[in-house]
Symmetry: C2
Subunit: 267 residues, 2 copies
């Protein structure tokens, strides 16, 4: 009765004890999309539904040793989330280089939903210089997009995305839920996939609440779709659909942000 | 459309990058049984499908701070797995005392499936002295049962279980998959629930393969059933059923032990 292992997604992510975001959330999104997560913690975080209180980066040597020891477990895609210091960022870059040809999704986690800063200008620059060039696709929200391109003063998302494409990544999916435009009274949210020769947009009904872990959910689902062989555009569309469904079926704890229900198809 | 959060299970466990066992496995078992996992890492491990190479206990102060920060998120059950040193064991004991009346499932993870030792005689003794008294139910396999009661020389599981009940826990579910008796040519495996006034047995068809994470799967499912309000006996039966199904629908990686499929009901 035993079946072969589903496509494996190597997840490098921070651990969030609420399971709303981070490594556990990623593994849920991978499982719900038919994959198997191999998870490498990049940091432990102390947080609740309101905000992040403390971030403790994992020893980068342990990250490296963990991946070395996984050995020949087949990796069909890589998803990278929180990298909270230079050492873990550099370790992630080294790890990705071990898997040539494997699609890489990088979610630049720079700020917690509750407002806590998870990065610095120097670390953002290091991210652009050392890691972005290895990404098949980057999934910033508008705030993160601006943080990664501080040299561009205006509010032109396209110009910012083109700058990141110039840094070497193959695609930038900019989500616009987090940072409403003046026109956000609109009942829709528009996400935009920028590629070197195109831009493609999707509109989704705006959800009223604030959610914890929406970015992780999107990026991990996207990596799993790429692991299964979808094209970039199809994977982006499927992942947005999955994330929107997870949020719209989400849970409302007694306090704090709502939590995604990544198993909405089952419960 | 938002719903209340499902019953939350506080999981204290080691992290296993393969997702076969440990914190991610626990969160899967909790989710598949209708709960929501709050996860506190007790250790990071470096391992693959064959064996555990290295165990790095988490700073016990971070464990404590993590639980303090979760604050008023409601905890309906607690599941404890790997405690790899005295400091994290003592932190787990302190954390449990913060939740009086909440059912506590303790899986004594003392040895990796591949054979690596994860405990010492001193740590086993500390486990009995400081933690067992706070357990509603303990889920050792036969090897672990023997390790926790080294003063009892013979092969009498009942006597060993009674010794642990005397140490203060309310129930001991002894699983017999790991360490076959001479009669293990039998096509069945017998698991036994010992309580102060009774012993109850269940028989399950023996599965031919070796699995990584069967104990975590059982204990986390059991905690989730208790969180949902099941009685101890019903929860034990349901958890065994869930674990058996997860294993029988398991995955066969290219190398190493098979991996449970905790979402067998969906895929």
């Amino acid at each position: 009765m035993a079946r072969p292992l589903p496509p494996a997604v190597l997840v490098l992510a921070g651990h969030d004890p609420t399971s709303g975001a981070g490594l556990v959330a990623d593994s849920e999104a991978v499982a719900a999309n038919g994959g198997w997560a191999l998870t490498v913690p990049t940091a432990l975080t102390v947080q609740n539904g309101d905000n992040v209180r403390r971030v403790v980066p994992v020893d980068s040597a342990i990250m490296q040793e963990t991946v070395d020891t996984l050995g020949d477990m087949p990796v069909a895609a890589i998803k990278i989330g929180l990298l909270a210091d230079a050492a873990t960022l550099d370790a992630a870059a080294r790890i990705v280089r071990r898997f040539p040809g494997v699609p890489v999704v990088i979610d630049p986690v720079l700020k917690a939903g509750g407002g806590a800063e998870l990065s610095t200008p120097d670390l953002c620059q290091r991210f652009v210089d050392n890691l972005i060039g290895q990404a098949d696709i980057l999934t910033p929200n508008r705030h993160e997009l601006a943080r990664l391109t501080p040299e561009l003063p205006d509010d032109n998302d396209t110009e910012r995305a083109v700058a990141l494409l110039s840094a070497g990544c193959q695609g930038v999916l900019v989500t616009a839920t987090d940072d409403p435009l003046p026109s956000s009274n609109d009942a829709t949210v528009t996400h935009t996939l920028h590629t070197p020769d195109n831009a493609r947009q999707w509109q989704w009904p705006r959800l009223a609440a604030a959610y914890h872990g929406s970015g992780c959910t999107l990026a991990a689902a996207l990596a799993t779709r790429l692991a299964a062989g979808d094209t970039l555009t199809v994977a982006c569309e499927q992942a947005q659909h999955f994330a929107w469904q997870s949020l719209s079926h989400g849970y409302r704890p007694a306090h704090g942000q709502r939590l995604p229900n990544r198993f909405f198809a089952y419960r």
